[in-house]
């Protein structure tokens, strides 16, 4: 099956700033794809070029086999775009908002009302969008992008400024949308979001893609040491060092920490000595991948 989205060596500069500097990737049908990177990495510009909002200086993009630029009326009904939580008509209620967007696509009002239920806003139907909470506005905004049943959904920083509970709520909505078989592309600067939602991520910095792959594979490829902690006082650090020579052991009086690239012998030794109380095992994360790739701490 041909790729749903292709980007080949896309470039875009604003004056001296190379916002997007040779980006190449493909998104498969039905895939949940993430573009991850700190602010100013070029994620949004990349997305806007693929959506057809900006013309690339060089390179080539296709969506569903069609070029998105110049404005392509054949493509527009098949893509859904969420730009910002406040991209609404002023002073309309949630239901009116959705119905207005629906009518732009020739979709009946009934379908618009169904979308309210999909994003869990039925009880807010009569509320003006200015009065919705951040999470509710974000969900409505996604409903507006989905109201015409597009094959591909683009989301730009969908959980940007949300509090943790609202973020988790939104993740559930996004997973459900992806489960319907739609292709979803989102940009985010939250590492955890990319790890939890995306089947594949492209890590971007300074307009370039540093690495692409499933989050777990990226982390595994890093060969990052595993950190095991248990309660202090169950066994002594000296015994542990003797039993598991390949581990680095520290004891701060609260926790006994073991850092090793081979967690199996250490875990086996702890189990044999009945010292698993308070056990935590931490592997690498995408943040470690970013650190490894750029040589600097990840700052969203």
């Amino acid at each position: 099956m041909p790729a749903t989205i292709t980007a080949r060596d896309i470039r875009k500069s604003y004056g001296d700033l190379r916002a997007v500097d040779g980006v190449t990737f493909e998104v498969e049908p039905g895939e949940f794809f993430g573009i991850l990177g700190p602010n100013g990495a070029g994620k949004t510009t990349t997305l806007e070029i693929i959506e057809g909002l900006r013309e690339a200086d060089a390179g080539e993009a296709t969506v569903l086999g069609m070029p998105p630029w110049p404005r392509n009326p054949a493509l527009l009904p098949r893509i859904g775009v969420q730009l910002q939580a406040s991209s609404f008509f002023e002073r309309l209620t949630a239901r009116e908002q959705l119905r207005t967007f629906a009518s732009l696509y020739g979709v009946p009002a009934r379908r618009a009302d169904e979308m309210l239920e999909v994003v869990g806003l039925t009880d807010k139907a009569g509320t003006r969008t200015e009065k919705l909470s951040g999470g509710q506005a974000q969900r409505l905004s996604i409903a507006c992008a989905l109201v015409h049943g597009p094959d591909v959904l683009f989301l730009d920083e969908p959980t940007g400024a949300l509090e943790p509970q609202a973020r988790r709520n939104l993740w559930d909505v996004l997973r459900a949308i992806s489960a319907e078989g739609r292709t979803v592309v989102l940009t985010t600067h939250h590492m955890d979001e990319a790890e939890i939602l995306c089947e594949r991520v492209a890590i971007m910095d300074h307009g370039k893609i540093l690495q692409i792959g499933p989050p777990a594979a990226l982390v595994r490829a890093l060969d990052f040491p595993t950190r095991i902690t248990v309660e202090s006082g169950l066994v002594t650090a000296a015994d542990l060092r003797a039993g598991v020579p390949a581990a680095e052991v520290t004891d701060d009086g609260v926790s006994l920490a073991i850092v090793t690239r081979e967690p199996a012998p250490a875990l086996g030794w702890l189990a044999d000595h009945g010292a698993l109380a308070g056990l935590q095992v931490l592997g690498g994360t995408l943040e470690n991948v970013f650190l490894q790739l750029t040589g600097r701490e990840y700052r969203a």
């Binding site: 604003y14 959506e51 057809g52 909002l53 404005r71 009326p73 527009l76 009904p77 893509i79 775009v81 730009l83 910002q84 406040s86 991209s87 609404f88 008509f89 002023e90 002073r91 309309l92 009116e96 119905r99 207005t100 967007f101 009518s103 732009l104 696509y105 020739g106 009002a109 003006r128």
Partner: protein, 351 residues
């Protein structure tokens, strides 16, 4: 529902639910009209009270003419008492006739009244002369002068304030919408919907035209009440195309402002900076007849002048429908030029 209709509906709801906009575009201009109309009502056509001392035959004729409406005549035989009344200001003038000489006594305490009295009697005498000379055609010339020189306040206040209300409503409507939609990215969101740009622009123009027509109806409704007493002249309906073209012209100003301004605050400040001075310079607040020459010259550059004067002509002066056409042409020309400039500097987003 098709895109044009639902966009129109969305914009209309957005407008009527915005109390600020309702107050600004409809209520404040109406309050101005009611206040100014009431204040200047009494100073409209000057009423001149005259004491006729003895028999003054010239006044007998004048009583039946147009001039008679201005004169309030009381009769007296006592010159001394009459002069005292004039001195006190309870009467504006005392008049005697001695043979062919008309003697008018007036007070210079009020220079305006003194001027009115002098002009008035000069024209009465002139009338009498012309009638004696057997040239009745000239009689109409004299009366018309008195009528036309002074439009009643409501006759210039209503078109002027209406012009200002329409100008600010249309400019704000286009400018603020453009800036708001660019700021919240709705503009780009609409671009990614299959609805045509024509539907979006058409809906915005339609709503602005509808608002302007409501303004026109409200203003005419209030101004023609017996209290304010505006009498619509035969071709008043030409005000409708005038208002429509004025709306287009001022929307194009708003479009231009919206193309440059980055925030709503900036846009509304710039619009105010344009519209308020133009209201004065274009004759919306003060009739241009009374304005100094330099201001009259400047007013030719103000689109508002053509809207206001055009409406004065067809609403109050009783000029024919064709009198509105030059104004309509100039307003449409301004709209075309400004829209072309706006299209060149238009931006979809803030970068």
């Amino acid at each position: 529902m098709n895109a044009f209709r639902s966009l129109s509906r969305a914009m209309l709801l957005g407008f009527v639910r915005d109390r600020g906009a309702l107050i600004f575009t409809i209520l404040i201009p109406v309050i101005f009209l009611v206040l100014l109309g009431s204040i200047y009502k009494s100073t409209g056509t000057p009423q001149v009270s005259v004491v006729e001392v003895g028999q003054v035959s010239l006044l007998d004729g004048a009583g039946h003419s147009q001039l008679g409406k201005i004169l309030q005549i009381t009769r007296s035989r006592n010159l001394g008492a009459a002069l005292n009344d004039v001195r006190q200001g309870t009467e504006d003038a005392a008049v005697q006739q001695q043979g062919n000489a008309l003697i008018v006594h007036y007070s210079i305490a009020s220079q305006v009244t003194a001027g009115v009295v002098q002009t008035l009697f000069a024209s009465i005498v002139q009338q009498a002369d012309q009638q004696a000379g057997g040239r009745p055609a000239a009689f109409r010339l004299a009366t018309r002068q008195v009528e036309d020189q002074s439009l009643k306040p409501i006759q210039y206040l209503a078109p002027g304030l209406l012009g200002w209300a329409i100008a600010s409503g249309a400019t704000f409507g286009a400018g603020i919408t453009l800036v708001t939609w660019r700021q919240n990215k709705l503009l780009r969101r609409l671009r990614l919907a299959p609805a045509s740009a024509g539907a979006v622009v058409g809906a915005r123009i339609g709503i602005s035209l509808a608002i302007a027509m409501v303004q026109l109806a409200v203003f005419l409704g209030i101004a023609t009440t017996p209290y304010f007493g505006l009498k619509l002249t035969a071709s008043w309906w030409m005000a409708i195309p005038l208002v429509a073209c004025g709306t287009l012209a001022f929307m194009s100003i708003g479009l231009l402002v919206g193309s440059f301004a980055k925030t709503q605050q900036a846009a509304s400040s710039i619009v105010n900076l344009i519209i308020l001075p133009m209201a004065f310079l274009g004759g919306a607040f003060i009739p241009l007849n009374f304005a100094p020459t330099w201001l009259q010259d400047v007013s030719y550059a103000m689109p508002l002048r053509y809207l206001v004067l055009g409406m004065q002509n067809v609403l109050a002066r009783g000029d024919g429908p064709a009198s509105a056409l030059p104004g309509i042409a100039i307003l449409l020309g301004a709209a075309a030029v400004l829209t072309l400039i706006s299209v060149r500097v238009f931006r979809w987003d803030q970068i």
